[in-house]
């Protein structure tokens, strides 16, 4: 047992850098490590949602967005998404008025719950739009956050 832990520790630290560089990191990660460039580079919500989900989605009441009504600092706006929708495959958070609206997207596999929390930057007062892929159906909801000091740029 001790030998196993020891081996694990040393192999993990030394081999990780090499493995990561060579793209040998766990199969789970290698599968979906592709970064969806088109979706993140999109300049508006419609283009971003199309690139990320292939659809603009339908409004849903079952997506709850927890974000401040007013953010003093646009550089750090906490956003929490909870949904009771079944079979949540992915959740994306977009800030409508940011130059590149798509902030982040998470793809689930396995025993995940419809929950995602993160912190986003907001250049100015804007809607936060959340997209959820529920069993192949694209649904969305939005919430407005007032920003007093923008978080993009210097």
């Amino acid at each position: 047992m001790k030998r196993r832990t020891f081996l694990k520790g040393t192999v993990a630290t030394s081999a990780l850098a090499v493995a990561a560089g060579a793209g040998l990191l766990r199969s789970g990660q290698a599968l979906a490590a592709e970064w969806p460039k088109a979706a993140f580079d999109a300049g508006d919500v419609a283009a971003a949602s199309k690139a990320a989900f292939g659809s603009d989605g339908a409004a849903s009441k079952d997506i709850k967005i927890k974000a401040p009504l007013q953010a003093e600092n646009g550089a750090v706006v906490p956003v929490k998404v909870e949904t009771s929708l079944a079979d949540v495959k992915s959740i994306a958070i977009l800030v409508a008025k940011n130059p590149k609206p798509l902030a982040t997207k998470v793809d689930f596999s396995g025993d995940s719950v419809g929950f995602y929390s993160t912190r986003v930057k907001m250049g100015k007062t804007s809607d936060i739009i959340v997209y959820v892929n529920s069993g192949g159906k694209i649904l969305k909801a939005s919430a407005t956050v007032k920003v007093t000091v923008g978080g993009c740029g210097g």
Binding site: L16, A17, A20, G21, L25, R26, S27, G28, Q29, L31, A32, A33, W35, P36, F40, A75, V76, V77, P78, K80, V95, N98, P99, K100, P101, L102, A103, T104, K105, V106, D107, F108, S109, G110, D111, S112, V113, F115, Y116, S117, T118, R119, V120, K121, G151, C152, G153, G154
Partner: protein
């Protein structure tokens, strides 16, 4: 860059929270002194795995705040399950952290 991980029970689910110390530079900010653009430097992918099996793949753009704090919830996590996160940024830098469900 340090990565911190925490897992805690939330009702029937287990919440996994990850904090990565990372500048998340957008690439459009200018250095105030040199007036030169600071190159983009941000995490692009972050993976959550439990007992070696991937459960969530997060993709991030420049719209995620500096020092990302990311949380997901999983069900059916048992005490002793190994949780591992690993991330990679646009410069190819990587990092990660491990913990176990209490």
């Amino acid at each position: 860059m340090a990565t911190k991980i925490k897992a805690r029970k939330k009702g029937n689910a287990t919440e996994i929270l990850v904090l990565v110390q990372h500048p998340m530079e957008t690439g459009s900010r200018k250095d105030k002194k040199t007036k030169k653009e600071i190159p983009a430097h941000f995490i692009q992918t972050l993976n959550f795995a439990i007992n070696g099996k991937s459960v969530a793949d997060v993709a991030m753009g420049i719209g995620v705040s500096k020092n990302p704090l990311v949380g997901i919830r999983v069900k059916n996590a048992k005490s002793g399950d190994k949780i591992e996160v690993s991330w990679k940024d646009n410069k190819g830098e990587t990092g990660g952290a491990k913990t176990a469900v209490k």
